[in-house]
C-alpha cells in the first residue's frame, strides 16, 4: 500500500520464523551503539594489542628480517612464541573487554525499563528468554570480536608460520583461548545485564560493573586478612578468572584458590546474575 493512502489496512504478508527474532534486538542496539564516536574509537583501540602480537609472531618466525636491520641474532632469539604469549593476550584483551562492557552493558536493558518498554516487547510473540538472549548477544558479538576471534587468528598465523609440528603440539592453545574467553564473556555479559536491569541510571550501572571487580577484590583481601583464609580470593573475580586461565594455559601460578573452586565461583556468579535478570525482566513491575 502506498504511503499516501491513509486508511487502515491489516497486514497480509508473510512472517519471519520465530527462532530468528531475538537477532532483531542486537541489530537495533548496534545501530545505536555505533553512533557513539567514543565507542568506535575505543573499539578500534582494542585491536592495537592483537596487531602488535601479529607483528611479534611474524618477527619471531622470520628472524632474518631482524638480521637485515642489523640486530644481532642472539637478541633475535629472545623472540619466541610460547603459550604465555596467548595468556598475556587474554589478560590485555580481558582488560579492554572489561571497559567495553562497562560502557556498552548499562545501555542495553535499563532504557527499556526506565521508559516502560517491557510490555511492548513481551506483548508480542517474543519471550523473556528471547529478550535476554537478544540483549546478551550484543555483548557476546562485540566482546567476541576483540577476544577469541583475534586470539584464534593469532593462533592460525602462528600455526601457518611455525608449521604442522608446532600446531599439533599446541592445538590445545586454541581450545584454551576459546573456552577461557567464552567463560569471561559469559560472566561479564550476565553481570552487566543484571546490573543494567536493576540499576536504571546508566552511569551508576556502568560504575558498578567496574566497582564489582574492585570492591570484590578489596573485600576479598580484607576477608583473607581477618579470617586468615584464602577463600576471600573467590570474591576477587579477576583472580578467579586468572586461576582458570592459568590452568587452561598450563601456567604455573598459585593464586591460593583451587581451579574447581574458581569454576564453581564463576558458575554461582552467572546463575545469580541470570536469576536477577529473570526477576527483573517482566512485562510489568510488581510494586509491594
Amino acid at each position: 500500500m502506498a504511503v499516501y493512502k491513509r486508511t487502515y489496512a491489516a497486514y497480509q504478508g508473510s512472517f519471519t520464523p520465530a527462532w530468528s527474532r531475538f537477532l532483531i534486538l542486537p541489530r537495533y542496539s548496534f545501530a545505536r551503539l555505533w553512533q557513539s564516536r567514543f565507542l568506535v574509537m575505543f573499539f578500534m583501540a582494542c585491536f592495537f594489542y592483537p596487531l602488535g602480537c601479529v607483528g611479534y609472531i611474524y618477527l619471531a618466525n622470520n628472524l632474518s628480517i631482524l638480521s637485515s636491520f642489523g640486530i644481532p641474532e642472539p637478541l633475535g632469539n629472545v623472540l619466541k612464541v610460547q603459550p604465555s604469549l596467548f595468556l598475556y593476550f587474554c589478560w590485555v584483551q580481558a582488560a579492554f573487554t572489561y571497559l567495553l562492557t562497562a560502557f556498552v552493558g548499562p545501555s542495553l536493558i535499563s532504557p527499556d525499563l526506565v521508559n516502560g518498554a517491557m510490555p511492548l516487547y513481551l506483548c508480542r510473540p517474543f519471550s523473556r528468554t528471547e529478550y535476554i538472549a537478544g540483549k546478551m548477544s550484543v555483548l557476546v558479538f562485540l566482546l567476541s570480536l576483540v577476544t577469541w576471534v583475534p586470539g584464534l587468528i593469532l593462533f592460525v598465523i602462528q600455526a601457518s608460520l611455525a608449521g604442522w609440528e608446532w600446531t599439533k603440539a599446541n592445538l590445545w592453545i586454541a581450545g584454551s583461548l576459546f573456552i577461557g574467553f567464552t567463560v569471561w564473556i559469559l560472566m561479564l555479559s550476565l553481570l552487566a545485564l543484571a546490573l543494567s536491569a536493576w540499576i536504571k541510571w546508566k552511569i551508576a550501572a556502568g560504575g558498578l560493573v567496574l566497582g564489582v571487580f574492585f570492591a570484590g577484590a578489596g573485600f576479598g583481601t580484607a576477608l583473607n586478612s581477618v579470617m586468615r583464609t584464602q577463600y576471600g580470593t573467590l570474591l576477587n573475580l579477576t583472580e578467579v578468572m586468572f586461576t582458570i586461565w592459568s590452568k587452561l594455559f598450563r601456567w604455573p601460578e598459585d593464586t591460593g584458590i583451587s581451579v574447581e573452586a574458581s569454576w564453581i565461583c564463576v558458575g554461582v556468579v552467572c546463575a545469580t546474575c541470570l536469576w536477577l535478570l529473570v526477576r527483573r525482566v517482566r512485562a510489568f513491575e510488581v510494586v509491594k
Binding site: Y8, G13, F15, P111, P119, L120, R124, S127, R282
Partner: protein, 304 residues
C-alpha cells in the same frame, strides 16, 4: 457470532489476594468497553489476556485459543497499547514502530513500509523521524497506537487510549478507533475511565468491581430499548393530550406544570406526538428522549 473473548470461571491471585474472581462472560462485539473504578481488576484482566499474569483457576480463550496453552500464537493476533509511557526515548518513531513490527514477525522491509503507513495513518507522518523522547504526551499516545497496529492484529487492546489528551487529540483518537472498527478486520477492547469514550466507541460494555463482573450489557440493544422514554414540557391542556396519547398505547404520567413522562410503544412514531399537539393547539416547549446513559448504567452497577 463466535466469541472474541471467552472467560470461564477465570480467577487470578497475587499471593493470598484474589484480584479477579470467577469471571464468566463471552464477548463478541466489534468494540468492547472495559469499565470499572480504580482497583477493579481491569488492567489485571488485560495482563491476563496477554499472558503476563498466571491464571489461578478457570480458563480464558481468545478467538478460541487457550491463553495458557497458545500464548505465543495469541500474542501474534493481539496489538496492545499500554496505559503508561512505553517507548524507547532515543529512537525515532519510524525505527521504534519498525522494530515492534519486526518483533511481531514482519520481515525487515515490510516492517519499514508498515511503520511509515501506520505513522501516517495515526497522524504522525510529519514527525516520524523525530526522537520519541521529544514527543508530546498526545504524540506518544499516537505512537503507542501505531506500534499496536503495525502488524495488523485481530484484537487491539487499548488501555486508557485518551489518557492525558486535549479535546482535539481525544477526538482524533476516538475517530481512529471508530475508523478501525469500521474496517471490520479487527476487534477492539477499550479500557477507560472516561465513560464518554466508551459510550462513543463501544458496542458492548463489561463493568468490573472488586475483581467481579457487576454488569455486562450490549450498548446497541440498550440504546434501542431506551429510545422509547420521552419527556415533554407543554403549555395547554395536557390532560386531554395525555389521554389521546394513552389511547395510542403510550404510558403517560403527568408530573405537573405541563410536564409529561411517557414510555412509547415499540411501533410508535414521534410525529404522532406533534400531530396530536397540533390538533389540540398545544405548545410543545421541550421534547427529549430519556434513555439510560452509560453513566446511569455504570452508577447502577456500582451501587449493586
Amino acid at each position: 457470532m463466535d466469541p472474541v473473548i471467552e472467560l470461564a470461571g477465570l480467577s487470578v491471585r497475587f499471593g493470598n489476594r484474589e484480584i479477579l474472581h470467577n469471571l464468566r462472560v463471552a464477548l463478541s462485539g466489534r468494540t468492547i468497553g472495559l469499565l470499572g473504578p480504580n482497583g477493579a481488576g481491569k488492567s489485571t484482566l488485560i495482563q491476563t489476556i496477554l499472558g503476563f499474569v498466571p491464571i489461578s483457576a478457570g480458563s480464558a480463550n481468545i478467538f478460541g485459543h487457550d491463553i495458557r496453552q497458545q500464548t505465543r500464537e495469541l500474542r501474534a493476533l493481539i496489538g496492545y497499547m499500554p496505559e503508561n509511557d512505553s517507548f524507547i526515548a532515543n529512537m525515532t518513531a519510524v525505527s521504534f514502530v519498525r522494530m515492534m513490527g519486526e518483533l511481531a514477525g514482519l520481515p525487515h522491509d515490510a516492517a519499514l513500509e508498515r511503520a511509515h503507513e501506520v505513522l501516517f495513518y495515526v497522524g504522525l507522518g510529519e514527525a516520524r523521524y523525530r526522537l520519541l523522547g521529544t514527543y508530546s504526551l498526545g504524540m506518544k499516545q499516537l505512537a503507542k497506537l501505531a506500534q499496536a497496529i503495525v502488524h495488523g492484529p485481530r484484537l487491539l487492546i487499548l488501555d486508557e487510549p485518551t489518557n492525558g489528551l486535549d479535546p482535539p487529540a481525544r477526538q482524533r483518537m476516538i475517530r481512529l478507533i471508530k475508523e478501525m472498527k469500521q474496517t471490520g478486520s479487527m476487534h477492539i477492547v477499550v479500557c477507560s475511565h472516561l465513560l464518554r469514550d466508551v459510550e462513543e466507541t463501544c458496542e458492548e460494555v463489561l463493568i468490573l468491581k472488586q475483581g467481579r463482573i457487576v454488569h455486562y450489557s450490549n450498548l446497541e440493544e440498550e440504546r434501542r430499548a431506551n429510545k422509547r422514554f420521552v419527556e415533554l414540557e407543554t403549555v395547554g391542556d395536557e390532560k386531554d393530550f395525555a389521554g389521546a396519547l394513552t389511547a395510542l398505547g403510550c404510558e403517560c404520567v403527568g408530573t405537573g406544570l405541563g410536564r409529561l413522562k411517557m414510555v412509547l410503544p415499540a411501533e410508535f412514531e414521534l410525529r404522532e406526538i406533534y400531530r396530536l399537539a397540533a390538533e389540540r393547539d398545544l405548545q410543545l416547549r421541550r421534547l427529549n428522549y430519556r434513555r439510560d446513559t452509560l453513566e446511569d448504567i455504570f452508577l447502577k452497577a456500582m451501587e449493586a
